[in-house]
Amino acid sequence: MPTSSMLLLLADGRFPAGAHAHSGGLEAAVAAGRVTDLGTLGEFLRGRLATAGLVGAAFAAAAHRAVPTADRAAELGRLDAELDARTAAPALRTVSRRQGRALLRAGRAIWPYAPFGDLPGGAAGPHQPLVFGLLAAAAGLSRTETALAAAHGTVTGAASAGVRLLGLDPYHVQALLIALAGACDTTAADAARAADGPPEELPAAAAPLADIHAEAHVTWEVRLFAS
């Protein structure tokens, strides 16, 4: 089944899952004075892609892989616990589950027969990459396409937040994303390959400042972005 249009729809920032409300940690990095211009934004995006981008894409791909398995709910439960163990900052666990809930609302409305009922997470909500994996499988995307859309989303959201937070020229920010396209493809391929292995061997790329910034950001009374 040709999936090109599906891939574009799922990778589109206008997909109604509230992604525009999140800066992917950029707002806190800007406030800490660590991202100030186009150059530091580019470095931020590169580091985010290699850490949160890789992990999120690998878990989306692993959830996609779990869909046709007989013990799908148990497999998704293992992925949920493994992703928790890779998300040391409670603020980031909360954000992932909140974004998962938002994506789940869209998924249930669009693909009512997809097996979203097997997702773990209870009232807190399922982790966003797991929902994304199920949703991409329902849309008929391949595992690599699933990882690609997930990795893409981790950098495009932060990049457009950069335009708003720093008043950067949107043409120049788009040029940053174009320059990152190759790295995004490679990250997605690595993530899809990793999903062949057992859940405990999935990537666990850590970013100390992402954890530290997230915990600082969640204490602010006024902020432009939810994360």
Binding site: D84, E200, A205, P208, E215, A216
Partner: protein, 262 residues
């Protein structure tokens, strides 16, 4: 160089920890020093420089029911380049039984220019076990850029995943020193505390930066205290301008009795 070392601790039935096995080979030698509180303290004594790329080192630690073990190293280990294309490995495999306690508090790992090193630790802690585990990485000797290093820490608690983190630095790692990962800090690390007598501490963060009321002083580095999922354990994660500041950030400060960090 290939080397393996092994440490097995048990209790003697009167509440004292004894070493049922303690063996190593250069450059991975183990030395017991007088302990306190009935526990044992063991130092890893580097019998050679390095690790050098190509070295393959493995340390197994087994802490049996009720035993108390503290492991230190006598000096920082400096990962150095070796044969072109070769990687050095230091693998630690540890298990901590119910009622047992392991403090793993080595000196820092320093990533020298041109090194290629993997520090891979896997720890299984049974329900009712205690673990204090510190990883510290210095990116390059003074004024030097680091080679490629991965510090991977995998901890299971009561058969479930507790912590999985893999920090990568070096010229082959995109964005590692940038504002999403280390923000230019040359020192980074984490301290994990899992103690059945102590629930996870609530989150707390210190971003560093200017000290209120002073024009010139800066609190260096940044640190966050993070309760892990399940609220059984706490992780401190930090970045710092130097090894001393990092050590200060990764020394536990909690109300009540605190495990001695050093």
């Amino acid at each position: 160089m290939r080397a393996a070392a092994r440490l097995v601790a048990r209790t003697d039935g009167r509440g004292r920890t004894v070493l049922a096995e303690l063996r190593g080979e250069p450059p991975l030698l183990l030395r017991q020093v007088p302990g306190r509180d009935g526990g044992v303290t063991v130092y890893v004594v580097g019998g050679a420089a390095g690790p050098l790329a190509g070295d393959d080192l493995r340390l197994d630690v087994e802490v049996g029911r009720g035993a108390v073990v503290r492991v230190h190293t006598v000096a920082a280990s400096v990962a150095l380049p070796g044969r072109p294309g070769a990687v050095s490995r230091m693998r630690v495999r540890a298990s901590v039984a119910e009622g047992a306690s392991l403090h793993w508090l080595p000196e820092q790992l320093v990533a020298a220019t041109g090194c290629a090193h993997l520090a891979d630790s896997r720890v299984m802690v049974a329900d009712g076990g205690t673990l204090l585990w510190r990883d510290e990485l210095i990116c390059g000797r003074y004024g030097e850029q680091p080679g490629d290093v991965v510090v991977r820490t995998t901890v299971d608690h009561a058969g479930r995943p507790l912590l999985r983190q893999s920090l990568a630095v070096g010229p082959d790692v995109p964005g590692w020193s940038g504002p999403a990962v280390l923000g230019g800090a040359p020192a980074t690390g984490s301290l994990l505390l899992l103690d059945p007598a102590r629930p996870a501490a609530p989150p707390e963060v210190d971003l560093g930066g200017p000290v209120a009321g002073t024009a010139s002083r800066e609190r260096p580095g940044a640190v966050a205290r993070l309760p892990l999922a399940g609220d059984a354990a706490t992780l401190w994660t930090a970045t710092a301008p130097d090894a001393d500041t990092l050590r200060q950030h990764l020394t536990p400060r909690l109300p009540g009795p605190v495990p001695a960090p050093t």
